[in-house]
């Protein structure tokens, strides 16, 4: 039954996919080129010493991979969810279909995961072509990015289903997503941050996603470390799913 | 107040308003009656100085809208067809801000807002946001807003469309009070009861043209009979019955669901129908309305 909800979103996507190319694909690519190559020249040759011999572009490519997974996931889990609850009311139509709450949530979450998979894979290919990623371990980094996306998708679903207007999203984007993007190890090691901030950065799911992806493509991963990140991200995804079920039930079944 | 001569509005190849002549006098309530798409709203937009005429001449309050739009609008009140309330503001703020658009002082609009909230029976909701208000409340707020500059001329485009009967009567009451206080009302409507209730004089529009003009009573006297007999038969097609009724009324109109017999004495005609051995499912004798006038003039009903 969740498959029916998934195919609904897929059909819908066929009509609007062009626009998502820009935010989902070109955006991360622009960041990679500007930061990796442009700014990378300053970092690598900088008097500050750079990253101790590692090319900056190779450092941030996996970081951007994980960060774009987060951004795609959050973007697809905010306004579309609110729209399906409030404006176009597709969820209500599905309930009448009849699909259960779990089918509706899982179907939509699966669609978001697919969107994250597409953008992550596309980014990985381009990063490889540009020489920013060189390891075959990238084949595991893409699923890692999808898992990172899921760790955001389900909690944000739960959050979005409790919102009645979009002002909460503003706070989410500006005070949660944006700072995570900038401080959770995407652009520089979190060790650069002052102690308290570093500790906070290390509990964010994005930092675990970034570290997992980076460890894989740069070949610095340890089995224990990677499994730890995977477990942490899975915990977020599963906990979020549980909350999302509760939020959706509260909103849709009254 | 308004003087239009051969006033025309074209959008590309489509003529929305086709060379109409209109004269509105101070203090009267003047109506544009017609179905959707007759050109009423386009005419109202031209009178409201937000749509330049394509052709013909138009003078409002003795001024030319092309040159003196702001000066004219300063003396107009406009109630658009769709409520365009500011949903980011509260009920009271809607009035305050709108008053400021007219360049009125803050102190003046504050006093005026209290007065208008009272008038629109919205004092209790003054600090509520606009969105949760009922349709009738929003409409009353839109009308209150249009009065913030004490307009000499109030333009109302379909003032009661979409409201329940009770809300309509409340609104009509407010509009009567305004008229009594000397405000000139110009309104469009496709409800004949509204036109009969509110208008001293009206024009009937169809396809961008004026097809009749006069007071509601004059129009009925001129274009219809005193009474109408409505007959319903147990049949899908009412047309065959029309031939069986010839000679019983001055005119017979066939509608999909009933027949209308135009006559000066409905009860007598009903008796005559019975004598011919016809047995309608229902018989209703009523006074002629503007709906009948419109049907006679255009061959169509107003609301369809």
């Amino acid at each position: 039954m969740a498959g029916r909800a998934f195919s609904f979103w897929l059909t819908n996507y066929r009509r609007v996919w062009r626009g998502t190319l820009i935010s989902g694909f070109l955006g991360p690519l622009f960041f990679l080129v500007a930061m990796g190559f442009g700014l990378g020249a300053l970092v690598d040759d900088g008097v500050g010493g750079g990253l101790g011999g590692v090319d900056y572009v190779r450092f941030i490519a996996p970081g951007i991979l994980a960060a774009q997974a987060m951004q795609t996931a959050v973007g697809e889990s905010t306004f579309p969810v609110m729209g399906a609850l409030k404006w176009q009311r597709q969820y209500h139509a599905m309930l009448a279909a009849p699909l259960g709450i779990a089918d509706i949530v899982l179907g939509h979450v699966a669609f978001v995961a697919m969107r994250v998979a597409i953008t992550s894979a596309a980014f990985a290919v381009v990063a490889a072509v540009l020489g920013a990623i060189t390891s075959w371990w990238v084949l595991l980094a893409v699923p890692a990015a999808i898992l990172t996306g899921l760790a955001f998708t389900t909690p944000v679903f739960a959050f979005a289903a409790r919102q009645h207007d979009d002002s909460g999203f503003n706070v989410l984007f500006r005070f949660i997503v944006m700072p995570m993007f900038l401080f959770s190890g995407t652009f520089f090691p979190v060790e650069q941050l002052p102690g308290v901030l570093e500790a906070i950065a290390r509990v964010t799911p994005l930092w675990h996603g970034v570290e997992l992806c980076r460890g894989l493509v740069m070949g610095t991963a340890t089995a224990a470390g990677s499994l730890g990140h995977v477990a942490y991200l899975t915990l977020w995804a599963a906990g979020g799913l549980w909350l999302a079920f509760a939020s959706f039930r509260k909103r849709l079944v009254t | 107040m308004i003087s239009a001569h051969r006033l025309t509005k074209r959008f590309g190849g489509f003529t929305a308003v086709d060379a109409i002549d209109v004269e509105v006098r101070r203090g009267e309530a003047f109506g544009f009656l017609g179905p959707n798409g007759a050109g009423k709203s386009s005419t109202m937009r031209m009178i409201g100085c937000v749509s330049p005429p394509t052709d013909g001449s138009l003078r409002i309050l003795g001024l030319d809208p092309a040159k003196d739009g702001p000066a004219i609008r300063a003396r107009l009140g406009v109630v658009p067809q769709r409520d365009t309330l500011d949903e980011e503001l509260t009920v009271r703020e809607n009035l305050l801000v709108y008053g400021r658009y007219f360049g009125l002082s803050r102190a003046h609009v504050r006093a005026k807002a209290d007065e208008l909230l009272e008038f629109a029976q919205l004092t209790e909701r003054a600090n509520s946001v606009v969105e949760p208000l009922s349709g009738g409340m929003k409409r009353r707020l839109t009308i209150a807003r249009s009065l913030v500059n004490d307009p000499e001329l109030l333009l109302l485009d379909e003032p009661t469309t979409g409201l329940d009967p009770q809300a309509r009567h409340v609104l009509w009451d407010r509009l009567f009070r305004l008229k009594r206080s000397g405000v000139t009302l110009v309104l469009t409507t496709h409800y004949m009861d509204e036109a009969e209730q509110l208008c001293d004089r009206l024009v009937v529009m169809d396809g961008g043209r004026i097809v009749a003009e006069g007071s509601p009573r004059e129009l009925i006297a001129l274009h219809s009979t005193r009474e109408v007999l409505e007959l319903r038969f147990a049949a899908d097609d009412h047309a065959p019955y029309a031939t069986k009724l010839t000679g019983l009324a001055q005119r017979v109109e066939v509608l999909p669901d009933r027949l209308l017999l135009y006559t000066d004495d409905g009860d007598a005609t009903a008796a005559a129908v019975a004598r011919r051995g016809l047995e309608p499912l229902s018989v209703l004798a009523r006074r002629s309305t503007l709906e009948d006038v419109f049907l006679h003039l255009t061959g169509r009903t107003l609301v369809d």
């Binding site: 002002s167 520089f188 650069q192 | 365009t84």
Partner: protein, 269 residues
């Protein structure tokens, strides 16, 4: 006011009643209800400044800011963040917010039934965008100064400079908005903004680019905004700054004229 009216009528400028300030007042009231959004806008440029300036800055160290000056990376990137914030704020106000008011809230349908004309709408909305921008840039400048990355008293002029950037982008953004059909079209605005934000010598000097593409970077309005801001905040002011001012001024005035025209077309049919 009548003198202004006469001049306005003589010029090819759309009609207005000189009441644009009342629309600013309206926006200020509306924002009292949505202040969280207003305040949240303060933080984005600051987050960028600290992420890049502090986090990355330590990896980079001092860099050559042109003209033989060497500054720490945070001081180099701060003016760019301020310029980019002015651009982003102005574009957001003049596209997203304006589109909503134009197409959904139908705000101007009611506004134009009053003495206000399309010129008042254009001037009012842009003035509001500039005031809001001024609030943001003042905060940013104060924080940047407190963080020690502002090097000169010339930086006081960074405030009007930010307003000039805002004006130029708001005016053009407004014009573009009048052509948009649906929310999906906003992706194209993003497509113009993001590369400009990333590539206009914001994060690294123009000299990083190959000679053959520098002219392209220099043609973008944000490049001029960033360069102007950097000259002021690093206290490296020369007559050359007037070229940046001229570029943005022309863009702003032309944008304003077009915007008011387009709004007139759209609303006064």
């Amino acid at each position: 006011m009548s003198a202004v009216g006469t001049i306005a009528r003589a010029l090819p400028v759309p009609a207005g009643a000189g009441l644009a300030r009342t629309l600013v007042e309206r926006n200020a009231r509306a924002f009292r209800h949505g202040w969280v959004t207003l305040v949240s806008g303060l933080f984005e440029p600051l987050f960028y400044l600290f992420s890049l300036g502090v986090g990355l800055g330590a990896l980079i160290g001092d860099i050559d800011a042109g003209g033989g000056r060497t500054v720490e990376y945070a001081a180099y990137v701060a003016p760019a963040m301020m310029a980019a914030a002015a651009m982003n704020g102005a574009v957001f106000d003049s596209t997203f917010n304006l589109f909503f008011k134009l197409k959904y809230a139908k705000l101007y349908d009611s506004v134009l039934a009053t003495p206000l004309g399309p010129r008042d709408v254009a001037v009012g909305e842009i003035t509001w965008a500039l005031l809001r921008g001024l609030l943001y840039s003042t905060t940013f400048l104060a924080v940047a100064a407190a963080a020690g990355v502002v090097h000169s008293w010339w930086a006081v002029l960074a405030l009007p400079a930010a307003s000039l950037i805002g004006l130029a982008f708001a005016a053009v953004g407004m014009t573009v908005t009048t052509y948009l059909r649906s929310w999906q079209d906003f992706d194209y605005i993003q497509l113009a903004l993001l590369p400009m934000f990333l590539f206009s010598a914001t994060f690294y000097p123009l000299s990083t680019y190959d000679e053959s593409v520098r002219w392209l970077v220099q043609a973008t309005p944000l490049y001029h905004g960033v360069a102007m801001m950097r000259d002021l905040m690093l206290g490296d002011v020369s007559w050359g700054i007037l070229a940046h001012v001229a570029y943005l001024s022309v863009m702003g005035v032309l944008g304003l004229l077009f915007a008011a025209r387009r709004i007139e077309r759209l609303l006064l049919r």
